[in-house]
Amino acid sequence: MIEINRDLRPWWGEGFLYKNIDLGGDKLVEILNILKKNSRYTNEEIGIMVGKTEEEVAAIISDYEKRGVIAGYTTLINWNDTQRQSVTALIEIKVAPQRGEGFDKVAERIYKFPEVSACYLMSGGFDVTAIVEGESMEEVAYFVSQKLSIQEYILSTNTHFILKRYKDNGKVFEDKVTDKREAIII
């Protein structure tokens, strides 16, 4: 069941809708948490973990997918240890909100660029964060100066390059964690 709460009209615009999706109870949220940690578990394995049948789990996941609660599946890659050239930048963007649209329209223009892998509306000293990926700092700089900052309603940008990823999506990127325990503890 999806409910749209039209009573929430924050000061930054009327284009903001709040979806109040019924997740269906703790057990179903448990499935989401399992998938968040490792989306490669089979439906059978998940079913065993939460005490449901494989078919029940498949139906629940399918429902979540249709409703957009599960927005997609992705793989977390540690590019640090590969030969692939990769640069990621965090761009702070100040935006002039549009009448009747708030920040949403400007944000849409930003996130439609394929170089933008994530886009967030922020509180605080700037309005939008964009995460931009490219093969070099020059490429990212070119994108920011030639494609992003020239956009209408973008007032200013401030670019920060990620030098090293320590942790991402809950995963610490370090040498393989070994079990430091004694092999036998009675």
Binding site: N33, E45, I48, M49, D179, R181, A183, I184, I185, I186
Partner: protein
């Protein structure tokens, strides 16, 4: 002087560990999946570690009160009331100990001696018999049965009680079986004990690791409150094994006696650990819940795995152990475990390491990653098929 001759006979008489050979085998092998570890695979939550570290930075490196920091005892009292509905006066009825292990040792040393009998249900933690023997008291073993899912029945208890019985050890949730006892089952034990002069040493170190219902302490029965010593701690619930911190709760006369021994032998528990424990009790509920959820997932997966392999196993509802029967393979527990280790590089512990009633069973710990558990199931399946 022959130094060996200076050692006390009762210490010499302690039998060597039945699993010594597994330590030696493991040392020669790489990439073994060990399901033999009786401690959490999680590390202590960061906010708890940080509290301990901060206390060191602040220079909190001195002795504390023998009984444990008052604020820690307050936190323990509040925690036990909140989680298990048992009420203890932090001033007189709670003693902070070096792990639950010291609590067990102190309780036995304070209460039993030569001529006394201590009832010990088995299979169970190996320290109970050892610590009892050191006091000079006589261990009286009850061999728990698989058909009762290794719970203690009133009939078994009645049969074991004699005029010399002074203390019953009640270890639930249980290591190595994972068995628990619910309120109804405990009420039958209470019925047997309520009019007898027998103290119950309730080892509840796995209390938080209960998967169907909230753990019930025998001390929550009013008629048992004064007769029960609760042993609990932070090792299993909060992944604080190496911090060596636990606590004992009971009648003030018992706690006072235990404190006397503790203060002469230990002085006080590690100060850093106590600061960390305060943080764990006050703000650690969420982390505990996450760990218990993870254990529960693994419990179900490993149980299903053993059953699909064809090894009979009751569903354990506590701790982080499964105790399947390997009798269908025709091997002894030792044979099974040694061959499994050598042929498939999976380590499990023979059930007889926890008492002779454990013969024919193995203890598999699911305090290991889901990936390890899934791989171990495949290897054990291959092993059992090969030896069928």
């Amino acid at each position: 002087m022959i130094v060996d001759d200076m050692i006390l006979q009762k210490v010499k008489d302690m039998p060597p560990s039945g699993i010594r050979k597994y330590f030696d085998l493991i040392n020669e092998m790489e990439d073994v999946i060990s399901l033999g570890v009786g401690e959490p695979d999680f590390v202590t939550p960061w906010h708890v570690r940080e509290a301990g570290i901060y206390s060191l930075e602040e220079g909190s490196t001195h002795y504390t009160s023998n009984s444990g920091m008052p604020v820690l005892r307050d936190s323990i009292s509040e925690y036990l009331q909140r989680r298990f509905e048992v009420n203890y006066d932090p001033e007189k009825e709670i003693l902070v100990t070096v792990g639950g292990s010291e609590g067990i040792d102190l309780a036995l040393r304070a209460l039993v001696g030569p001529g006394d009998e201590v009832i010990i249900p088995e299979p169970s933690f190996v320290a109970y018999q050892g610590c009892t023997a050191f006091t000079g008291a006589t261990p009286v073993v009850i061999d728990l049965k698989a058909e009762n899912e290794f719970k203690l029945t009133k009939e078994e208890l009645i049969a074991a009680i004699t005029e010399k019985t002074k203390l019953l050890i009640l270890p639930f949730p249980n290591n190595p079986t994972g068995a628990t006892m619910d309120r109804e089952e405990l009420s039958e034990i209470v019925e047997v004990l309520k009019d007898k002069d027998i103290i119950v040493l309730s080892d509840e170190i796995y209390a938080e690791l209960s998967y169907r219902e909230n753990h019930v302490s025998i001390a929550s029965f009013p008629e048992m409150k004064d007769k029960t010593i609760i042993i609990n701690g932070f090792s299993k619930s909060h992944a604080m094994t190496g911090w060596r911190l636990g606590y004992a709760c009971g009648h003030r006369a018992i706690i006072d006696s235990m404190k006397k021994i503790h203060q002469y032998a230990i002085m006080c528990c590690p100060t850093t650990s106590q600061y960390a424990a305060i943080e764990a009790l006050n703000k650690g509920d969420e982390a505990v819940k996450e760990m218990v959820t993870a254990y529960n997932h693994r419990r179900r997966v490993l149980l299903e795995g053993f059953r699909k392999i064809g090894l009979e196993c009751f569903e354990p509802l506590g701790a982080f152990y499964l105790f399947p029967s390997i009798k269908s393979t025709g091997m002894t527990s030792d044979e099974f475990c040694e061959k499994l280790l050598l042929e498939e590089e999976v380590l499990v512990i023979p059930g007889n390491a926890f008492g002779k009633s454990g013969e024919g069973f193995i203890r598999a710990s699911y305090a290991s990653s889901m990936e390890n558990i899934l791989e171990a199931i495949k290897r054990i399946d291959r092993f059992v098929k090969k030896h069928s």
